[in-house]
Symmetry: C2
DNA sequence: GGAAACAGTGACACTGCGTGCCACTAGCTC
DNA sequence: GAGCTAGTGGCACGCAGTGTCACTGTTTCC
């Protein structure tokens, strides 16, 4: 659940910057973006920029009423090229979720072994969904789109799979079970469930703080539902 | 999760109306023209029969490699007619899930008020997924298809929504909360999660009993995960 | 400087899902 | 029979996603 929109850029620094700043000569050795140096034609845009454009149109016109042609045209690329940046129209709403997910995996792996498993997950999921204020509004709009569009709701199941894998692998590793065992899988499914429930709750409350609601939702699971009923 | 394949027959009124006695032919097997009774042309087939045919082809050729034309042709109807029985190719895999779901709602509503909420859910979900041996094999194949096909996995999220509603409504009613509150929603999501985890586990174990694995999975949640870690 | 290698682009054609439209068919009642 | 009614299916359309292939811009090597 949740992720920043940041992605690596080919021609310049990453983040939320305009598409192509340096047309002639790419900035030498900027950060880690390996723009110049490689052979071949430079990409016309970036996945992050494409996702940004698409989200704007989705907001304006609705997901279903927006065609891939619309997005491609707005980004100044061909329709065929769009599908080289994203596997499907659905995927564009998520941006680069996997990269963000890697950070959660790393955070979990770095948890001290004596930390209880459930507490570690609780902590990691909250961190995973903590965003700087500058991205908060962006993130909210993205999640409102995803959780409010049936086609995206359905598709999100596939994106959540890797999220569950990360959780299940952690539980398996810490409790000496196989990843495919019932317990790690059930824990992963249950955490995903309460996280989504928290997100949905958050979206119904305009001014609310995501992490706060998420914290409440996760605690229901960690403490046991019986404790709250 | 889970449901029988039974559906209303064409000769009789649909949905919750009183069933009609099929005089001539009632066998869901192929061939026979269905029973009469009302004005207008008789349906060419039934949703249940169509689903049965489709599942056979999916088993043989795979979901993605099967086109709607294939299914329609096998059932002896036109492609356009197929979409009057099912909204999408995805839906055909589920058959009439909603009718089965109504029984779970009724079972929950009939639970004695003094029964603890979690115990009532535990019981109802197990009952909901208990099938007579004659349907067991059929059910397993259906669920293997659904949980093993990405397109259906994604789509199932939309079918699970009503399932979650039933659970959330029960929790809300019994605990004096609104259905939209965090607690009923989180409980519904969490139960769905562990139920799916149980199903997935069941499918990896050829000879296993569904209710038994489901029972273990649900208990993880009811007793609290901390209890098992 | 020029050729070759290379990465990325976009036009075109094709399959398949889902939908609106509409004429047609088959049952019933009067 | 006529008229009503419910269901059928052909046709055309829009749109997602994919394979193919010629083209374009960039670096590297001679």
């Amino acid at each position: 659940m949740g992720h920043a929109g940041a992605q690596d850029r080919p021609g310049g620094p990453g983040g939320t910057e305009p598409p192509d700043a340096p047309p002639a000569e790419a900035a030498p050795a900027d950060g880690g973006a390996p723009a110049a140096g490689r052979a071949g034609r430079r990409p016309a845009t970036t996945a992050a920029e494409l996702a940004r454009q698409a989200l704007l149109i989705f907001d304006e016109r609705g997901f279903d009423a927006t065609t891939v042609d619309d997005i491609a045209a707005a980004a100044g690329i061909g329709r065929r090229t769009f599908f080289r940046y994203f596997q499907s129209k659905n995927d564009v709403a998520w941006g680069d979720f996997d990269a963000h997910l890697e950070r959660m995996r790393a955070a979990l792996a770095a948890t001290p072994p004596q930390t209880p498993v459930l507490a570690a997950l609780h902590r990691a999921i909250l961190d995973f969904n903590t965003y700087p204020p500058s991205e908060a509004d962006w993130h909210r709009r993205r999640m409102a789109l995803i959780l409010g569009t049936p086609a995206l709701q359905a598709h999100s199941t596939l994106r959540y799979r890797r999220w569950r894998e990360v959780v299940a692998e952690f539980v398996a590793e810490r409790t000496g079970r196989a990843v495919t065992d019932l317990v790690p899988q059930a824990v992963a499914w249950a955490f995903l469930g309460v996280a989504v429930a928290g997100y949905e709750q958050w979206l119904t409350q305009p001014g609310a703080e995501l992490t706060e609601i998420l914290d409440r939702s996760l605690r229901l699971l960690v403490d046991g539902f019986a404790h709250s009923l």
